[in-house]
């Protein structure tokens, strides 16, 4: 059993400002790619900038991408969302594909979700279609006309025939047979 949930902040799924209901607005506002021009850890980042960055920018015109070359520092991807949160990803020794994958992840998110566990993987404004349960849902209306305590309602359900009932039935049958015999005579 894992204990990772213990120190994660719990949260529900929400869309900020009814995002998908009207039109979809990409919640990623801008991305800052910080890298070093010579250090080895930035190699993947540099390769990404040389090759895949143009495509990414063309395909996501709503995201402002900034490049910030900084000497002697590790490469960083800093993502800023529309709700004001920032996500800071250390891209040291990432490959070119990894940088692209992280950018896709960050573009699809609406906020920084590290350190947060989702309590439910679904959300609905209308959890009940037929209406929530009430104690009156399957209540017989004839109970409204009874005074309590009521003898008939209190009687236990009898499954089998009691011996008395069986005897009485036998007696009735016997009476009928006697009658039939008399008629036959």
């Amino acid at each position: 059993m894992s204990n990772s949930h213990l120190f994660l902040k719990p949260a529900f799924i929400t869309t900020p400002g009814q995002n998908g209901v009207g039109r979809y607005v990409c919640q990623l506002q801008r991305v800052v790619l910080k890298f070093c021009k010579s250090h080895g850890a930035s190699r993947g980042m540099r390769e990404f900038i040389e090759s895949d960055l143009i495509n990414f920018v063309k395909n996501s015109p709503e995201v402002a991408v900034y490049l910030k070359p900084r000497r002697h520092r590790s490469p960083i991807i800093k993502a800023e969302y529309l709700n004001g949160e920032t996500q800071w990803i250390n891209a040291s020794n990432f490959t070119q594909e990894e940088v692209l994958k992280w950018l896709f992840l960050v573009k699809s998110q609406a906020s920084n979700r590290t350190g947060i566990r989702l309590r439910k993987l679904l959300h609905t404004d209308h959890p009940s279609i037929q209406g929530p349960w009430t104690p009156y849902l399957f209540r017989d209306p004839k109970l409204n006309l009874t005074t309590f305590p009521n003898e008939e309602l209190s009687q236990a359900d009898v499954q089998d025939e009691t011996a008395t009932v069986k005897l009485l039935k036998l007696f009735q049958l016997q009476k009928i047979e006697d009658l039939n015999e008399k008629r036959a005579e």
Partner: protein, 298 residues
């Protein structure tokens, strides 16, 4: 070697060498003793002074206003006329301040155009559209209530925030106030009316303002004063005149947690118009009336 000889050697070393070189400080890889008190004092001072004020994004090194404006247009999914869009973000106070500063240096300074007229036009467009949509099915008081709710400053500011408008606004105060954000949204709608045809403006208002009603109950925003009388009026228009309220169920009547269920029925065909519950029969009747009103509009 014998004990006495060893001790003599050690004594020699002690006398001849400099005391500094014998008693080396051993390398310590622990936290220094002054680290914890320093950090404690720093956090104490920070708590007294409070957090740093938020800095506008435009003060950072990586900022390009043109790129941000372009991205805003794409994010929202509309083709804006760039000049008009830039005007939409300029608040009147800021424009006046720039004019004042500019005129002080150079008499022929052209002040930037501000968004005051755009705000008025945009507000009118938003209100008209909301009223158009809702008047088709609902009565005037409901339409007015919904329109008022959707066009409050808080609501429009909330919408504007999630369009990424905060960093683009040119205003005197930072962070921009609720009113500023709301005005900017209205100005954007106004700018859109200059850049695209009215259909696109209506779609824009639909997608951003009207959709805030998603999942909201009408009764969160508006309640009729006398629900039962209101219902009777509505039903008269439909042709239903005989309405019979009946007590359907009750429980725990002599306690403070009493619950009554009242149903409203059409006397002619015995159909149920609405069901309601309440702590006493009057409240139950009113909520049954509200339920019936909701069912009419469904």
């Amino acid at each position: 070697m014998s004990f006495w000889r060893q001790s003599l050697k050690l004594a020699n070393r002690l006398i001849s060498h400099n005391s500094k070189s014998i008693f080396h400080a051993t390398n310590s890889r622990n936290f220094h003793r002054w680290v914890s008190p320093t950090l404690r004092e720093l956090s104490r001072r920070r708590k007294i002074v409070g957090p740093d004020p938020e800095k506008p994004r435009s003060t950072y090194l990586e900022w390009n206003y043109d790129v941000e404006i372009h991205c805003f247009g794409k994010r929202v999914g509309e083709n804006f006329d760039e000049k008009v869009l830039r005007e939409a973000f300029i608040q009147r106070e800021w424009a006046n301040l720039q004019e004042f500063k500019g005129k002080a240096e150079d008499e022929s300074f052209i002040p930037p155009q501000h968004n005051y007229e755009l705000v008025q036009e945009g507000f009118k467009l938003i209100k008209d559209h909301i009223q158009d949509i809702y008047s088709k099915t609902y009565t005037i008081d409901i339409v007015n209530a919904v329109c008022d709710y959707l066009t409050t400053d808080e609501m429009l500011a909330h919408v504007a925030k999630y369009l990424g408008v905060k960093d683009l606004i040119k205003s005197v105060e930072f962070p921009p106030s609720t009113k500023t954000l709301a005005d900017t949204f209205k100005a954007i709608v106004g700018a859109l009316s200059y850049s695209a045809d009215p259909e696109r403006v209506k779609l824009f208002v639909n997608d951003f303002v009207v959709c805030q009603m998603n999942g909201k109950d009408v009764y969160d925003i508006w309640t009729p004063d006398n629900p039962y009388d209101y219902l009777l009026k509505l039903l008269q228009e439909k042709g239903i005149t005989n309405v019979e309220p009946r007590l359907c169920n009750q429980s725990a009547t002599n306690t403070i947690l009493a619950n009554y269920q009242v149903g409203l029925y059409n006397s002619e065909d015995k159909s149920c118009l609405g069901l309601g519950w309440g702590e006493n029969i009057q409240i139950a009747k009113n909520s049954a009336a509200l339920d019936a009103i909701q069912r009419i509009y469904n």
